[in-house]
Structures are given as C-alpha cells and as structure tokens.
Point group: none
Chain length 205, copies 4
C-alpha cells in the first residue's frame, strides 16, 4: 500500500472526489427535475428549484456551471432512465409480435405515467432548435432513441429509414402526449394499440 506512488494516491483521491461530486450532482438534478418538469425550462427559476427541493441557491451554481448545464444534465439523466426502461421491456421479447407489444406498451405506459417528464424533454429539444448549446444532448438522446426503434423494427432500407421511422413514432408519441396533457385521458392499452397499429404498418413493407 505505502509503496503506491503519491501520484497514484492523489489520483485515487481525486477519483473518489469526482465520484462523490457526481453522486451529489445526480441528487441535485433529481430534485431539480421535479421543479423543471412542472413549469418548463423557461418558467422555472433557480430559486424555484432550490426552494422546492430545499437546496440552497448557491449549491446549484456550485455544482452546475449555469442553468443551461443543469438542464442538460437533468435531461440526460431522465432520458437514460427512459431508454433503459424501454430497453428492459423489449429485452425479453422473442417473437416480432412480442417485441411490438412490449414496445407499444412501454411507450403507452410512459405517456400516462411520466407525461410531465416527457414534456420537459420536448421542451429542451425545442430549445435546441434555437440554442446550439442544447444540440449535443438532444442529438445524443435521439441517437439512443433511434437505436431503440431500430432494435424493434430491424433495419429495412427497402422501406422506411430508421430516422423516418423514429420521426413517425416520436410524432405519434408527442401527439398522444399532448392529448393526454391537454385533458383527453386515455388508458394505457388504448394508447398502446395506436403504437401497435403504426408498427404493424411499418412491418408490412
């Protein structure tokens, strides 16, 4: 042990520090999401976030360079969870039918259960259209979402390209989410059926 180079010690200590810092950031971000998803990025102040989570205002800036970086961190955090969730759902599927069913249900369930969080995602994706700072995260996340779509539909270049298919699925998702938020509540199976019909169509090609 003692023969470890001081440099190694320092590095290890630094790594631990980094890990601690990351854990704290994660904790802060999870609190922040709660506030953000409720009012949206533009309408949520750092004070709101601090107040709602019993965090101190200074701490937010201590861990995040600025509001933008906080948002980026938050969105990445939650979308990872979403992709992981959908990924888990479709992991066990054997037949194509099962696959579609699992995917459709996963999307439908998320619309009902995590409407506000998805709304936040659409919020930042929209911001990215105006502010390049957000474009990398959005690209990264859309990449993983496309990966999901591809896992479900397979690549069939003779028919629709993955990006287009992603666009279509996402568009339907967004539209159903909008209805949900605006007040037309629908059941999960009901919503799932919409996705299934879309997937079925795409698989006929």
């Amino acid at each position: 042990m003692t023969d470890q180079k001081p440099i190694g010690k320092l590095a290890a200590r630094a790594a631990i520090k980094g890990a601690k810092r990351d854990a704290k950031k994660r904790e802060l971000a999870e609190s922040a999401i709660e506030a953000l998803k409720r009012y949206g990025y533009a309408n949520t102040t750092l004070r709101d976030i601090a107040a709602q989570s019993e965090l101190s205002l200074g701490m937010l800036h201590y861990y995040f360079e600025n509001k933008e970086q906080l948002l980026i961190y938050c969105v990445r955090l939650y979308k990872e969870a979403f992709a992981a969730d959908i990924g888990a759902r479709i992991a066990g599927a054997k037949t194509r039918e099962d696959l579609f069913q699992a995917f459709a249900e996963g999307l439908a369930a998320s619309i009902v259960e995590e409407a506000e969080t998805h709304r936040l995602w659409y919020d930042i994706r929209n911001q990215a259209l105006f502010d390049p700072v957000f474009q990398p995260v959005v690209a990264e996340i859309e990449g993983s979402l496309m990966g999901l779509v591809e896992r479900v539909t397979g690549e069939r270049s003779d028919s629709l390209s993955t990006p287009v298919l992603y666009g279509a699925v996402d568009g339907v998702f967004r539209h159903l989410l909008e209805s949900q938020i605006v007040g037309n509540r629908r059941s999960i199976p009901d919503l799932a059926e919409e996705f299934r019909s879309l997937l079925a169509l795409a698989s006929k090609a």
Copy 2:
C-alpha cells in the same frame, strides 16, 4: 331615407376603421414574425421586435394586448398561409399518386424554404404544453393540419386513424426540419421522397 344615411355612414366608417386596424395588426405581426422566428418566443423581447422593425415599443402594445396575444396572432397568420399553400398544391392533383407527390413536395419545400417559421410553430406548440393560453390556437391549427392530412390520405378507419397519421407525418416533418436546422441540408426532392415513402406505406393498409 335620408336620415338613414348618417347611420350608414357611421357604420361604414367604423368598418373602415376596423379594417384599417386589422391591416395594421397584420403588418406589425409580419414584422414581428421576422424577429420571433429567429430567436424563438422566450428569447425575443418586445424591444427586439420593435427595434428590428423600426416600430415603436408602444405601438406593439397599442395593437396587441400583450406578448402572448402577439405571438398567437403571428402563429395563426403564418400557419394559415402554410395550410393554404399546401392546400393549393394538392388541389389540382387527380390521381392518388399526384396527390401524394404534391403533398410530399409541399412539405419538403416548406422545410427548406421556411425552416425558421416552422421552428416558431414548434416553439409555440411546445409552450402550449405548459401554458394553457396557447392551447386554443394550437388546437385550431392542428385541426386544420389534420384536415390536410385527411384530404390526402382519405379516411381509412381500418388502418391508421387520422390523428395518428397526422402525428406520424408531423413527427417526420419535425425530425427532418431539425436535421435541416442543425446543419444537414438536404434537397427538396430528397426530403420529398421521405414523405412519399411514408404516405405510400400508409396507403397500403
């Protein structure tokens, strides 16, 4: 008879006043759109709008109750134009093929030529998810867009419902728009082909 004249005159004068005011509002809104579509709703101040169009700040408030109402007016104005444009394009189509082609080309052209304006639309549609004030316009416009989709695909309840079809088309549109804005410029025919493949698929059902 003669005593009816004054009344007629007054009414006529009032009508003219109203028309003039409407024309002016339109003019202001058109100027405002130029600024709004560049920076987005949240990042555009009324001062920006006034400065860019050489309007006085007070005038904006003289014609529009507040920033929200201005935006609503602007979005309605431009989306009407968009729907009218697409409508005109598909009006002459005889065969189903022509219809798809015209629609696909219209969408593709609009992505290339009016990218920024559509971006503004997505901005407000997103705002509506958080702020109910915007929901009526969004609903209205989405209604007319769905009408467009329906005219092109016909109603086929055995396959995809119009809302879902709209969602899919819109999703693809948005995705291609995003690519366009982020930097992957594609040609109109190229983009049109994507829409055609989507429509062709939907029509197979």
Copy 3:
C-alpha cells in the same frame, strides 16, 4: 344693432364661444368624475375616463391642459354642488336646534349617498400635501366649507376657533366615511346623531 362696433361683435362672439367652451368643459368633467371617483386620481388613466364616458382621448386634452387641471376642475365642480346642497339645507333653519339638525342630516346623507365622490375629494386634498398645484383649489374649497361651519356654529372666539371646529367636523366626517366605505354601513339618522352630538358639545362652550 348695426351701429355696434365691430369690436363689440367680436367680443360678443368671443364671449359666446367662451360660454360654449365652459359648458363643454363642464360636461366633460361630469363624465370624468364618474371614472375618477371610482378608482381615485392616481389609478385612473385618461383612457379610462375617455372610455367610460365615450369621450375621445384627444378631446380631454383639447379642453384641459393636462390631467391635473382636469382633476382640479372636477373637484371644484363637485364641491360647489356639495356646499350648495348643505347651504340649501341649512338656509331654512330658524332655531339653533333646526340648524344643527339640518347640518347634521346633510352631512350624514352625503356620506351615505355620495361616499365615492367625497373619497375623491380626500384624494385630491391629500395630493395637495405633496403637490402645490392642487393647493389653491383645496384652499378655496376648504374656505367655503369653513364658511359653512361658521354659519352653523356662529363665531365664538371664546371657545373653539372656526378652523379647529372645521377640523373636528371634517375629521368626524372623514372617519365615518371611511367606516362606510370599508364596510360598516350605518343609517343616515344614526350618522346624523354623531354630528349632532359633536355640534351640541361645541355649542355648550
């Protein structure tokens, strides 16, 4: 007639014009009071006044130099009416008792029936404490009010001076008005009794 000097004609015409103008000002002011007394001087815009009375904005400035002058004109107008009303009420009184009674009833009735208008008076009198422009009207009106008090109580320098008596009566009036406005409605006889007790006291000296 024709032998009248041209100058005389012009003068006569000017006088007529002036009278016409005065009549119009009076009319405008009466309309303006309706708006002013509702929200108070500081909270009433010229637009409010114009809108509520179907007057044009420009006309207000055509007849009155500015908002201040309009207010001054309005207050003078209404307080003259008030003083005249009270004056008429006490004119017929023979005995000291009658005098007190008439005065007390006049004040009480005015609190109930013209609360809002008096509130406007207190508003401008208060403004005068900060803005000298209003001091002349206030002084003038308070002068006539003191005259009223003096007519009722007579001059009795051995006891309370008229200004002090005026202050006392006015203070009670204001206090009862405040109660009235804040919500404690009382009947006219009830209120009158308060004034009577005050006057009775003062007359004992």
Copy 4:
C-alpha cells in the same frame, strides 16, 4: 443531551437569521421612509428609494414582496414609534390637566417636528380608501390611535364616543398639519393650545 444540541443550534441559527433579516428590513424601511415621506407613495419610485439610500434596486425586492408591502411596513414602523412617543408622554401625567397638557403638547410637537412623516400616514390612509390591501394596516394603526385617545379622555359614553372623539382630534391634527405644510408655521405651544381647547370641550360633557 448532546444530540439535542444540533437541533438547538439549527433552531438558534434560524432564529438569528430571522432576526438579522428583520433588522435589515427595518433598516431598509427607515431609508425608504425618507424618500416616501418627501414625495408621497404614488410619486416615489422604487428607483428613487434605492438611489436616495444608495441601496440596490434588487435589494428592495429581496426584502419586500412589492411596493405595497414596503409601504405597509414603513407606515407600521413609524406609527408605532409615534404611538409609543405619545404614550410615553402621557404615561407620567397624574391629573386630568396634566394628561391633556401632555397629550396636546405631544401632538403639537409632532406636527412641527414630524410633519412629513405624518403626511405619509395620511397618504396611505387615503390609498386604503381605494385599495383594500392597505386597509388592515390602517385599521390596526387607527385602533392604537383610538386607544391613545381613550386613555386621555376616558370612556364617557354619555357624551362623545371614542371613534367620534378620535375623528375630531385627528381632523384637527390633520388640519393643523396641512397649515403647517402649506406654509403657516406656528409654534408648538400655539398648536398645543388648540388641542387643549378641544380636549377641554370634550371633558365638559
């Protein structure tokens, strides 16, 4: 035992924080009063207040929710001091004569020495007639002022009620204040004599 300490510490720290904040609010309010009493509520901007006291604009909003709340705080602050001052003056009086004298002198002195501050009080009391937000403070303060009057005159329901007596004293006070402000400066004994005559009158009942 020892584990109670942290809790106690936290509570103590919170208490200190609160006390510090209160002290700061007081300090700000005292500065604000200087500006407010000079120009009146409606004519004093928060910028004026900040500039005159070398405070930052943001700080005013950091400590007070809005301009109204700032005013309310200010008025309560100074009127408490006034009531306390008068209270102290009459506390030592033994005979009824002493009481009247002390009270009269207190009022007179305050007119001369704190004219502007009282003017601010009349300003907010007037605002309260139009804006209910101010009514609670006004009611509270008038309550304590009536308490003062009652302590001096005692309750004599057979004669004037306390509210009426308060109205009368206040009316005289206001009138003398007005004269003072408008330019007729009088000496303290002179002014005190006016109050004494009024009180003497009331005590005869």
